[in-house]
Amino acid sequence: MYIIRHLVISTCLLLGIVIQVSQVAAQSGTAEHLLAGFHALDINQESHSFGNARPKVLIFLGQECAISQRYIPTLNELSTLAKAMEFDFYGVFSDSWATLEKAKQFQQDYEVNFPLILDSAEVIAHQLQPTAKPEAFVFNTKGELSYQGRIDDRFADLGKLRQTFSQHNLRDAITAVGNGQQPDIARTKTIGCFYGGWD
């Protein structure tokens, strides 16, 4: 059975915000590719298709979220590792109040080395239901979700930074999926900024 989803075609203007993400294809009820049919323009207007057979990391970020900001140097390292293992690696801003201008400023200020997607229409967020920012989603070559959760365990709680941490969950997930395996830990709880604008 095919379910035709809401289409957001091409670039349109809504409240002055450029909608950069669209889902144009029908999705099969039996197909497992969670991102089939998703297309996006990154904030530098490069086009990306998410439904292909490359493994992927999507990481939800908040433009003003201190925990997201603090993780960017780590994410830059992880994106280098992931790219070397033939992954696509994206940062996603899925808030209705996220703006292109702030996204560009964020990319520049934090020297982000991976493409950033502005999902202010929250299309990707509705599909994946992230719980907090920054939350990582790792997909294997079939588009199956192999890992969802924190980057590592350095935050014990909001405002509680561990002095030593040992669980490098996102790195482990990338390494496992890159080697064609399922990560040992597939789901972790994310400590971060709450989503406030969608359910």
Partner: protein
């Protein structure tokens, strides 16, 4: 679900929602929690009740603009404000949201030219606490925050005139005539941004959460605040925000306290649950003038800016660094306040100030090619080693308000010192530069009371690996009358609880400070509203606990190891710092910098004890 069951569930829900946030009607002579309450005036300006200028008793007059009789009293309110002001009593009008919108309240104050500051009680907090029944009903609290007058406005002037005498209480509980006021709500049915949340944010959060502020995001408008509704509900509930850890006791609470009431926290929670609605424009209060525009205590007498900007890295462990201003004290001076402005507020987390008279810091600095030097692991201060060359001079933490010493008090500083600023940088993912500035305020008149600093602590610390609940106790016998002005505690990463109690010669206990769940990143100096008198023959006891288990996320070791006393981040400390005015010179009358001599400190400092049977219960410390 049956109707009965539904009714039961509803009752339970209502009790949960409203039950714990209601206030009892205060009676005269009973303690209130009015002094220091953070509120917003009808003009949008931030007011701390009784703390506009130093600290003073406060009088509140509830005004109902729709009551014709109220108009007859407006002249009285202005006149009372004048006479109260002369007596150093802060008088405010209060217009409650139960009767009027913010805009209507503002228009009324303007139209009738009310010169007394008028609070708009948008959240209903003051109305809920004091529960006035009749328009122009008046309340007055003394410096100890006890209700000393509650009654009609006619007799308020007598209460004001009689401040400090018993007369005030005798005249209290007078009958009140006027229009009845609507009953105070424990919690409103619908919480909105404009009416409830904005005044709370403006009074409690905006100092840091504004553009260019210390916090990572601004909460200045509805558009900026709405996305954080869930987060605000969560972090206020857990009391992670506003950041404040110190608890003492009624009668000697902290002047720089920043805490929300349970009711205010419930408002944040309800706002988020109800969809973070904006509410009527009629309740939108004006924005306060930015307090980032200048120094909060006025033009400083001395400005000390770091010589060079320090490059703060994007990533890694937090940085603790010391910066030296050489020869910063060219002449003898008397300091009455210290303030601080971070160069890049996004990364400066907190700082401590020191004076160094034997150039110890500058010698260490010379060996480090970058601006300043890293010291965690090799403390530059040598007060344990017999030198009197270094001593601390206060601290700054985000959201902290600078406090001037009480009139007539000052810290004399001899010429010739270097000023040392210790900054804790909280890395935030981007490279930046910081060049911060310290401001010193000097006494304009000769002082009568020389204020000085005291360390009390123990080096007898040896925390076994894996020990979850390790306690140390130390004490100080007070050998001379003193006034305690402020207090701070110091541990490193695995510190857990702090309890400090003074036992007076008659056996009475004064709870001075409790900190639960210590966090090295939120080290505050806790300033008492008024100095606490601690007579000769008293004893100050301090208990410190540590969690050296692997469960403690702050433990610097993955596999816990024994931790001993030391300067390094993987060692621990247990100390309290007291700012005091000694009534007579047990250290001599000379410069304060001389008091930290090891030989003089000995009887004070070495009171370590393993006797832990008397650890005070948490309930001794109350709000």
């Amino acid at each position: 679900m049956t109707a009965q069951r539904l009714a039961l569930v509803t009752t339970v829900l209502l009790c949960t929602l409203f039950g714990s946030h209601s206030y009892a009607v205060p009676s005269t002579g009973s303690p209130t929690d009015i002094i220091g309450t953070r509120v917003i005036g009808t003009n949008g300006q931030f007011i701390r009740i009784g703390m506009d200028n130093g600290i003073s008793p406060a009088a509140l007059v509830f005004i109902d603009p729709s009551c014709a009789k109220t108009k007859d009293y407006l002249k009285d309110i202005n006149r009372l404000h004048q006479s109260a002001h002369k007596q150093k009593i802060a008088l405010y009008g209060v217009i409650s949201s139960t009767t009027h919108t913010a805009k209507a309240a503002q228009a009324y104050v303007r139209k009738h030219n009310i010169t007394a500051p008028v609070i708009y009680d948008g959240t209903g907090e003051l109305t809920a606490r004091l529960q006035p029944q009749i328009s122009t009903e008046s309340f007055m609290v003394n410096l100890s925050d006890q209700l000393i007058y509650h009654g009609n406005i006619d007799k308020l002037s007598m209460a004001i005139d009689a401040t400090g005498t018993d007369t005030a209480i005798k005249e209290s509980n007078t009958a009140t005539a006027g229009c009845p006021l609507p009953k105070a709500q424990s919690l409103p049915k619908q919480v909105t941004y404009n009416q409830h949340i904005r005044p709370l944010i403006n009074a409690n959060c905006l100092t840091c959460h504004q553009d260019g502020g210390v916090a990572p995001f601004s909460l200045k408008s509805y558009t900026q605040s709405k996305p954080w509704a869930g987060m605000m509900a969560h972090v206020t509930q857990s009391r992670f925000m506003p950041p404040w850890k110190g608890i003492s006791a009624p009668g000697h609470r902290f002047r720089n306290e920043r805490r929300l009431t349970d009711r205010e926290i419930a408002l944040f929670s309800q706002w988020s649950k109800q969809g973070a609605k904006e509410g009527s424009i009629e309740n939108l209060m004006p924005s306060p003038a930015s307090d980032n525009s200048g120094w909060r205590l006025g033009k400083p007498d001395v400005l000390l800016t770091m010589d060079e900007a320090f490059e703060v890295p994007a990533n890694g462990k937090d940085v603790y660094r010391y910066f030296v201003k050489k020869d910063a004290i060219p002449k003898d001076m008397v300091i009455v306040a210290v303030d601080f402005k971070p160069g890049d507020p996004a990364v400066v987390h907190h700082c401590n100030f020191f004076l160094d008279y034997d150039q110890r810091a500058r010698k260490i600095d010379a060996k480090d090619p970058k601006p300043g030097f890293q010291v965690f692991g090799n403390g530059f201060m040598d007060y344990f080693g017999g030198s009197s060359g270094q001593f601390p001079l206060g601290a700054w933490a985000p959201g902290g308000e600078p406090v001037k010493l009480p009139e007539g008090m000052g810290i004399p500083i001899p010429a010739g010192g270097d000023f040392v600023i210790e900054i804790h940088y909280h890395l935030n993912g981007k490279k930046t530069k910081d060049q911060s500035t310290v401001a010193l305020y000097l006494a304009k008149k000769p002082i009568q009371k020389t204020v000085t600093g005291l360390f009390v602590g123990t080096q007898d610390v040896k925390i076994p690996a894996g020990e979850k609940n390790y306690w140390r106790h130390f004490y100080m016998d007070v050998s001379n009358d003193l006034d305690l002005i402020d207090i701070a505690a110091h541990m490193h990463y695995i510190g857990k609880d702090v309890k400090i109690v003074a036992t007076l010669p008659d056996g009475a206990k004064k709870p001075l400070l409790m900190i639960k769940d210590w966090d090295i990143r939120w080290q505050n100096v806790y300033v008492y509203r008024e100095p606490i008198f601690i007579p000769k023959g008293s004893r100050i006891d301090a208990w410190f606990s540590f969690d050296n288990s692997a469960d403690n996320p702050a433990n610097p070791f993955k596999k816990p190891v024994e931790m001993k006393w030391g300067w390094a981040s993987d060692e621990e400390m247990a100390e309290i710092y007291l700012t005091v005015y000694p009534h007579s010179g047990f250290w001599g009358e000379e410069w304060a910098a001389g008091v930290l001599l090891e030989d003089m400190m000995k009887p004070w400092q070495r009171g370590a004890s393993a006797n832990l049977s008397d650890i005070p219960s948490d309930s001794l410390f109350t709000l």
